[in-house]
């Protein structure tokens, strides 16, 4: 091996020698230069392969885009930001491993990541043990408030409850189908919704709950059941927590069986611009989605963001969606907190974050709350033929995220308060902290 190498070197021409040496020198220079200019490392923990890659890849690109923009403005505290991207491959235990790698080996100051609740639950112990910061950008089931996690997606009271209110008031819906994929987010959300609907006087026989496996593709029976349930002479609506890929065949079946939004509207919590990009939206006209952000919302911030994002991805058709906006807000809040305490030390940043305000893309200002959730506006959008949403309703102001649902018996007395009480599940009845986190 070695003799071959020396032979190779010996046979190199003079000119190539020169070029090689120059390259080496340049490389060394760049290396020492990088050493001299210290960077702040930002971890990106989103699946780039496996089933969740469909949703999470965009979020990785979003963080890279935000870091790029921030570096153009001079970075944070005069230091450049550097992204460390890992791929947990839609594998929940791997999320924990990769999180540990990011914090201990790469020494990142903050991590933006996770999509599914199970991936978040899997990395929680790591973030607690190694005391780091996670920004979680997706709407989720609530019932959690952790010191090391900042939830920039919607809690159930920032998405599900307002959507049901809209249907009840504006569409006069009296009968409800709660359809979801069989895992923790739909199950908890539906439990909260069921309690909420009952508190509004909806009877048990007017609620139908239905769960399907992940990636369910044969919706014939369920759509026929919904049709039957909807023919009881009362206005019926479907509240869908169906996840990911299963949505496309579901909507196709609805369209084919002739269920129009004017007969039985479907309001979805997991269908956004990104998901609609994969379907022919004509049969879906008028079906609804509830989010805190829509690409179609007209505001100067949003227009600027969409333009910059499409320029960055070099794709004039690239869509934006709600979890992306959550990352935009979360990233901005983190930058402001770091600049406020002039340090990336996790303890200092965690204490500084509550109270930090950041502009959201829909023209308001979101604020980090003591329970580590943020305030957001809630919009109901109708699907248009071009795969975008037309906002038909919005909450009058921003809604504060509840870590613990007020509708469930087990959690209605709990609050998360990491500022005053230093506790994620403080019981306001007994005035006791139930221990760390959930």
């Amino acid at each position: 091996m070695l003799t071959k190498l020396t032979h190779d070197i010996a046979t190199l021409s003079r000119r190539r020698w020169l070029a090689a040496t120059a390259g080496l020198v340049l490389g060394l220079a760049a290396f020492s230069n990088a050493k001299a200019q210290e960077t702040i490392k930002v971890g990106v923990l989103h699946s780039l392969s496996g089933t969740m890659a469909i949703s999470e890849t965009t979020l990785k690109d979003t963080i890279l885009f935000l870091i790029d923009e921030q570096n153009k403005k001079g970075g944070v505290m005069g230091k450049k930001l550097e992204a460390v991207v890992v791929d947990p491959a839609s594998n929940w235990p791997l999320f924990a491993e990769k999180a540990r790698e990011l914090i201990t080996k790469d020494k990142v100051s903050v991590v933006f990541g996770c999509w599914t609740s199970v991936s978040r639950k899997s990395v929680l112990p790591v973030f607690k043990e190694l005391n780091s910061i996670l920004f979680y950008p997706v709407q989720y089931e609530g019932e959690e408030s952790e010191r090391n996690v900042f939830y920039t997606g919607a809690a159930p009271n920032q998405q599900a409850i307002p959507a049901v209110d809209y249907l009840m008031k504006d569409e006069k819906v009296k009968r409800w189908v709660l359809a979801g994929t069989d895992y923790v987010y739909p199950r908890t959300t539906n439990k909260i919704l069921e309690a909420y609907l009952k508190s509004k006087g909806v009877k048990q026989e007017d609620i139908m709950i239905n769960y399907t496996p992940f990636g369910h593709s044969d919706w014939q029976t369920i759509v026929a059941d919904i049709k039957k349930f909807g023919s009881a002479g009362k206005k019926t609506a479907v509240v869908s927590t169906i996840n990911g890929d299963a949505n496309v065949p579901f909507y196709k079946e609805l369209g084919n069986q002739g269920i129009k939004a004017t007969d039985i509207p479907v309001v979805a919590f997991s269908v956004g611009e990104e998901e609609l990009a994969g379907i022919d939206t004509k049969p879906l006209l008028g079906h609804l989605a509830a989010w805190n952000y829509f690409q179609s919302i007209k505001s100067p911030e949003n227009e600027k963001f969409i333009k910059a994002w499409q320029a960055y991805t070099k794709n004039p058709k690239r869509v934006t969606n709600d979890p992306m906006e959550a990352h935009v807000i979360g990233f901005d809040m983190w930058v402001k907190a770091v600049e406020k305490v002039k340090s990336t030390d996790p303890d200092k940043v965690i204490d500084a974050l509550p109270g930090i305000e950041a502009k959201n893309l829909t023209g308001g200002t979101s604020k980090m709350l003591p329970n580590h959730h943020i305030t957001k506006p809630v919009f109901i959008g109708e699907i248009k033929a071009n795969g975008q949403f037309d906002v038909v309703w919005k909450t009058p102001g921003l809604v504060a995220g509840d870590a613990w649902s007020k509708e469930l018996d087990g959690s209605k007395d709990l609050i998360g308060d990491w500022v005053g009480k230093k506790c994620g599940n403080y019981n306001t009845k007994t005035n006791k902290c139930g221990g760390q986190g959930s």
Partner: protein, 537 residues
């Protein structure tokens, strides 16, 4: 509450302003005022405008409302002028009917929400009851049936007297019955007759109409309604069995389609091919590419896109299959564990390759017009895409069977799989046949991908969701037997669809798996086990 009040206040204010502005020219009648409300971009104003325009009797009412439904009604928020863009592209001023050259720059389409769409449908129902097209009259009668709006009664009565078309007449009679049933001052006799008409209709919408009635009915009518509901219910019950059977057939056809390629690579050749699902996925992506090319170059051919995609998908997936066999699998014959691991790894490689080339998100594969929509057969809805897939699957099955039975290649395949050494000594190039057989299995998986792209997502994960089901079908049906695969697929499909309403989708699936495990314990070789010496070969 306060928002509502503000809206009202604003509306009143606007009305006063309008009155002030237009009082002198005296041109602005109630119709013009109503039309102008479309320009306010306020859902409750639009609602009022729809009602006022629809009942105005103005000849422009129909073009305005139908334009509103199709998104062709636009309004200029500054001048409060409203325009109708005709289906032929001609633009008129909605208030006067005068032709306009072009829309103002800031004119935007009048927005609708579901409540308003229902109002539009109801209004159009009233306006198209006298349309010359019988299909339109039936559709109009349907929407009156749903809205049972009392105001439509005189029009319906008039139309009914003139109507000669039988089907339309029946639809009008039903619509009339629906109105009478909900009309508070209809006589008891009228209501009883109405109940009888609706009972005869006997579908879910009739059921919805009857169950939606209040409790303040005369006792005789209430009794008639209860018996009618019971009779419709038992009728629908029977139809729901038929429906389950149809859904089962349809699910079975999807299972068969996904498994049929595997029945060759695994069933006939004995290769545990974990990359089978990825061949399906490649077929689906081929369809996507074909449609992309058609969309950009030859949009007129869109309805034929699937016909073009089928042979291409067969060739692409088949060629990749041959490459896999030549490159990897031929070194691993007789070593099932290694084959399993190698093909599993290969499936991940293929997935990631597609993800890199086409991106991780779903790709849109459109349905040609002949595959969209549904038709009613009795009380069940049969969707065209499912029906076509069933026919397509059976056709693929028959062609494959014929190929194995009647062609030289089929004969060689059977010879090689039954007794390799004997076949080799008879002069058959066994390794060439192996490659072609694997290619055939993969190619058929590719064809399956074309059909599955019509009902499922086209994403890199497409294949994964079918691989387990495919193995289940092949093992259950009996390895090495195409008929077993057919029977296995339809049995599992139908069993699944009869279990689903009872046990729910999640438990139903689990129950099926448990049943198969028990069945395999009893009959390890599946439904149709091969017998004789071939088994040991």
């Amino acid at each position: 509450m306060s928002a509502n009040f503000l809206d009202r206040f604003r509306a009143v204010l606007l009305a006063i302003l309008f009155a002030a502005c237009f009082a002198v020219p005296a041109l602005a009648g109630p119709f013009e005022d109503a039309v102008a409300k479309f320009a306010n971009d306020d859902f409750s104003d639009t609602d009022e405008a729809i009602g006022a325009v629809a009942t105005s009797g103005n000849p422009l009412a129909f073009p305005i409302i139908s334009a509103l439904q199709d998104g062709r009604l636009s309004a200029d928020p500054d001048t409060k002028k409203v325009f109708v863009t005709g289906a032929d592209g001609k633009i008129i001023d909605a208030a006067t009917g005068a032709a306009v050259d072009k829309l103002p720059d800031n004119a935007a389409a009048v927005r609708l929400n579901n409540r308003l769409r229902r109002a539009v449908e109801a209004a159009l129902g009233g306006l198209t009851l006298l349309s010359p097209d019988p299909a339109k009259r039936i559709a109009a009668a349907q929407s009156v049936f749903k809205s049972h709006d009392e105001n439509a009664l005189p029009v319906i009565d008039g139309a009914l007297a003139k109507e000669t078309n039988k089907a339309v007449k029946a639809a009008f009679t039903e619509a009339r019955a629906a109105i009478l049933l909900y009309k508070s001052d209809a006589t008891e006799l009228e209501k009883l007759e109405a109940v009888a008409v609706i009972k005869a209709r006997g579908d879910q919408e009739a059921m919805a109409l009857l169950t939606g009635l209040g409790s303040d009915l005369p006792p005789n009518v209430a009794r008639a309604v209860t018996t009618a509901i019971a009779s419709i219910q038992s009728n629908l019950q029977m139809w729901s069995m038929v429906q389950n059977a149809w859904y089962g057939l349809s699910l079975g056809s999807v299972l068969l389609l996904a498994a049929i390629g595997l029945a060759i690579t695994f069933g006939v050749m004995g290769v545990i091919n974990m990359a089978h699902g990825e061949m399906v996925m490649i077929g689906a992506y081929t369809t996507f590419v074909v449609q992309e090319v058609i969309r950009t170059r030859y949009p007129g051919l869109f309805d034929y896109s699937l016909l073009i995609a089928v042979p291409l998908a067969f060739l692409v997936a088949g060629a990749i299959g041959v490459l896999i066999e030549r490159g990897i699998i031929r070194f691993l014959y007789g070593r099932p564990l290694e084959t399993l691991l190698a093909t599993w790894g290969l499936s991940l490689v293929l997935q990631q390759a597609v993800r890199t080339m086409f991106g991780p998100t779903n790709r849109e594969v459109g349905n040609p017009s002949w595959m969209s929509g549904a038709f009613e057969l009795g009380q069940i809805t049969i969707t065209y895409n499912r029906l076509w897939i069933l026919c397509f699957t059976l056709a693929v099955f028959v062609i494959l069977l014929a190929m194995l039975r009647y062609t030289a290649l089929g004969l060689e395949m059977r010879a090689v799989t039954q007794n390799r050494r004997m076949a080799a000594s008879m002069g058959i190039a066994t390794s060439r046949v192996d490659a072609l057989t694997f290619g055939l299995g993969s190619g058929i998986a590719g064809i399956a991908g074309v059909a599955l792209s019509q009902i499922d997502n086209v994403s890199p994960n497409l294949g994964q969701s079918y691989i387990i089901d495919s193995f289940m079908v092949v093992v259950f049906g009996g390895v090495g037997n195409l008929w077993g695969t057919l029977v296995g697929a339809f049995t599992l499909g139908i069993a699944n669809k009869f279990l689903e309403p009872v046990a729910g989708a999640v438990l139903g699936k689990i129950a099926i798996l448990v049943l198969i495990i028990l069945f395999i314990q009893k009959r390890p070789r599946g439904l149709f086990a091969l017998k004789g010496r071939a088994v040991e070969a």
